[in-house]
Amino acid sequence: MTERLDHTPAVAPVRGPRALIFEVGSPESRCTEAPAIDVPLGKIDALLGGRARTAPPTLPNVTELEIMRHYAHLATMNFGVDSGMYPLGSCTMKYNPRINEDACRLPGFAGLHPYQPEETVQGALELMVGLADALGEISGLPGVTLQPAAGAHGELTALMVFRAAHTAAGNPRKKVIVPDTAHGTNPASVAMCGWEAVTIPSDERGLVDIDALKAALDTDVAAFMLTNPNTVGLFDPQILEITEAVHSVGAFAYCDGANMNAILGKARPGDMGFDALHINLHKTFSTPHGGGGPGSGPVCVTADLAPFLPGPLPVAFDSGGLGLGWPEYSIGRVRSFYGNFGVLVRAYAYIRALGGAGLTEVAEQAVLSANYLKSRLETAFEVPYGPTCMHEFVMSGERQKAENGVRTLDMAKRLLDYGFHPPTVYFPMLVHEALMIEPTETEPLSALDAFADAMLAIAEEAASDPELVKGAPYTTPVRRLDEAGAARNPDLRWRPAGE
């Protein structure tokens, strides 16, 4: 098979052994040694009431250089936003400004203990209040909690707030409606909140089927969850009719804010009739994704729902100064302490860098860049919904599958050989062979063009040499993996020989 590579691979191939950290070093290797103990030390087993370990835990023995080489090696096998364009739909892989990284590491932030007296954390509380106020203004929903650790955690928190409000009104209700384009976290959060998730189909435009929604609405419905703009990249123009219908049966309208980056400064969920929204700070407000977290999922709610928010929340005392307080009918705690503070610092820094006009530009450029890419690709690929999109769009690989037997997965893997991270694939599920593309506002035009060129080249390869695409990737540190085998015989941890 020919590899035909005249472009930069996504990740430079790494040859040589990829040892586990347990396989590096020797029993004598040491990095950080424990400090000498300068106080009397009794017999440990006696101090621990006879609970001392008889055998040490299985951990690596390595030197400092071995650690740095090991992780340097692992880093070369990874692709991040700094490596190249990462157009992962719905995930908003934008540039992570470095000053935000510096900020969260300042000793006055990173070194704070959560139970320090309030007078010693006034700067931290001021930052949290500033961020909460900004999110309230951006969302049009004035009640804000910064506690949830991630988007899914925020969804669940908002649903708990709804449940408390319904219960206070005398009927906790039974079910929550989600469209078929919803993120999987939506129905999963509904189940964790003790409700039944009812899925309704989208209409032929990829929007809420308003008749199906109205048919599903009754007084057993606690809420309707909608991502707007939705996961096919469309803003639902029926939004006011939707929220009015939801409210007409006494249910709450929930906005999954995963795509909030598309409407910053252009429209506010609160003005659309939503009662609550979560915001993924790690998407819209540029905090890094960290290879799968930590994120942060603040929740914004109407003034009516604010008394139910989880506590404690930063508050300004009449006497001056800031502290922590509890909303009147709080649902309680949803986690330890007050939120993923280190992530909040980064998002706050981002908002202060951009200001109101800067945030509007973020949305405008994100939407323009997505439309530009779409215009460059729609001749070669099926684009089921349109004519324009918001910050992302969904294409289908149906044509390539039908004509060449090349699946979306194959094209995604081939993109790796061209130096790009693939888009989100096979989501949303209502589009067959879906490719969900979100370029973000931080990609230069040259990168958008290079990505479009690569996609078009792959479409040509699919026609001229389908086996080439089906065998991709060729240039990555590992080739395609046996995922079924991993699930069939799970090997989820290293064990020392003989254990």
Partner: protein, 460 residues
């Protein structure tokens, strides 16, 4: 200041390519009634110099524990973070990457998580650990939910000596009705979970309908619980034993698996993560292989690629929300991968011997601190129970006044039990709780600091 590289000229060209006259045309779907006509009312933008200065000022508005002499613990601990940790975490290939859904270009993250999973298994003695949860409190909730799925029962018995914030979190989740929470009271005279008596664990397990017994060791008061007895009671009643552990102490203590734990969770912040005002932390979660398909969260496993090379991949994903939706084992998607990476680097840096040494140092210093404080005559011991590196003493006077006075001398003089309890009393006698102060001493504290601290207490 902005991060948009496209020029005005390029914007015009892009609009022409799209075929619309202006950007506003792309927002045509937004009903006019909700379109914003003026910019958001936010503070003016800042350039980098101004921003750096503003953030430095906010930071300087705090007096961080790391720059004081910190005897505060209660769920967040002032351990030393080896320099290598931040250097590894700062590698952009790690922190600017997404969840490793494309394994061919995510082997770094995947292998690091696999190594982390292995280390957590090594510490806890369990068969399998997931890629992380948000924090100790939510890991405990997930353990309770998982126990309900495994046993097909709904009642959860939670020890009253678990951190009040964790109990409170559990109670918030239980409101939804998926699990039913029974806390048991009172705390025994030894500062432990009461096993017998009318309200004790034994009587609570009588109905035979309990999914899990949740217990922390060390508990909120720093005391070491009798896991052997609690485990036997739980298992005799057909319930799972869920243990919350301190990962530093697992360097020198028998792992919970020794006592038959079915699920082990905990707060992993002490493993190389900054306290950062309480977040992001790291929830670690480990269990038996027999229950792996009921686990929440991501798992990394080993496989091979088409060339036969060893490789790593997210696996058993049919448990997860993006596949199973409302039938998933949890709604968790983003977890705390970077904090798990920090824990992996930390545990590699210290190794088994270093971790044991750090744990011994913490235990020795905490015991020394306790003796010195008792010797001041201002504190009395509520109990004589084995503990790790955190303990509670009753103060003779006003706790807040004592803490204020010592703060002005540069000490964080422990956590008031009544203050931490806040909205969620542990069930310990109120008058005692008002006097109790929780002190922690990590390996960072020196004998000189402890001696001076005790002297200052005497001088109050």
């Amino acid at each position: 200041m902005g991060y948009i590289p496209v020029t005005c000229e390029q914007r015009e060209a892009m609009l022409r390519a799209v075929g619309v006259p202006s950007i506003d045309d792309l927002f045509a779907a937004v009903p006019e009634a909700v379109r914003l006509t003026q910019p958001l009312d936010l503070p003016e933008p800042m350039g980098e110099i101004e921003l750096a200065s503003h953030l430095a000022n906010l930071s300087a508005g705090n007096a961080p524990a790391t720059e004081l002499v910190c005897f505060l613990g209660a769920g967040s601990y002032d351990h030393y973070i080896p320099s290598v940790v931040n250097h590894v975490l700062s590698k952009p290939e790690f922190f600017t990457a997404y969840t490793p859904y494309q394994p061919e270009v995510s082997q770094g993250t995947l292998q690091a998580i696999y190594e982390y999973q292995s280390m957590i298994c090594g510490l806890t003695g369990m068969d399998v650990a997931n890629a992380s949860m948000y924090d100790g409190a939510t890991a405990l909730v997930e353990a309770a939910l998982m126990a309900a799925r495994v046993t097909k029962r709904h009642r959860i018995v939670c020890s009253p000596t678990i951190h009040p914030e964790w109990q409170h979190t559990l109670a918030t989740y239980a409101e939804a009705g998926v699990i039913e929470l029974s806390t048991f009271a009172p705390v025994s005279a030894e500062g432990l979970t009461s096993l017998d008596g009318t309200d004790g664990l034994e009587s609570l397990l009588e109905g035979g309908d309990v999914a899990a017994v949740l217990v922390a060791c060390p508990n909120f008061f720093g005391n070491l619980e009798d896991l052997d007895a609690i485990g036997r009671l739980a298992h005799d009643a057909g319930a799972l034993l869920v243990v919350a552990s301190n990962p530093i102490l697992l360097g020198i203590m028998e792992p919970p698996s020794t006592y038959g734990a079915d699920i082990v969770v905990g707060e992993g912040q002490p493993l190389g993560n900054a306290m950062s005002y309480g977040g992001p932390g790291l929830g670690f979660f480990a269990c038996r292989m027999t229950h792996v398909r009921q686990m929440p969260g991501r798992l990394v496993g080993v496989t091979t690629d088409t060339d036969g090379n060893r490789a790593f991949v997210l696996t058993l994903s049919t448990r997860e929300q993006h596949i199973r939706r409302e039938k998933a084992t949890s709604n968790i998607c983003s977890n705390h991968a970077l904090n798990a990476l920090a824990a992996g680097v930390y545990l590699s840096a210290v190794g088994p011997e270093g971790l044991a040494g750090i744990a011994r140092s913490c235990v020795a210093k905490a015991h020394y601190l306790r003796e010195k404080l008792l010797a001041t005559g201002r504190f009395t011991a509520p109990w004589e129970t084995p503990f790790g590196y955190e303990f509670a003493l009753a103060y003779e006077g006003d706790v807040a006044e004592m803490q204020d006075a010592l703060l002005s001398m540069g000490y964080l003089a422990g956590a008031s039990v009544a203050d931490v309890e806040g909205e969620w009393p542990t069930g310990i006698d109120e008058n005692l709780a008002a006097k109790l102060v929780l002190f922690a001493a990590t390996e960072k504290r020196t004998r000189a600091e402890i001696d001076s601290f005790a002297d200052e207490v005497v001088s109050l």
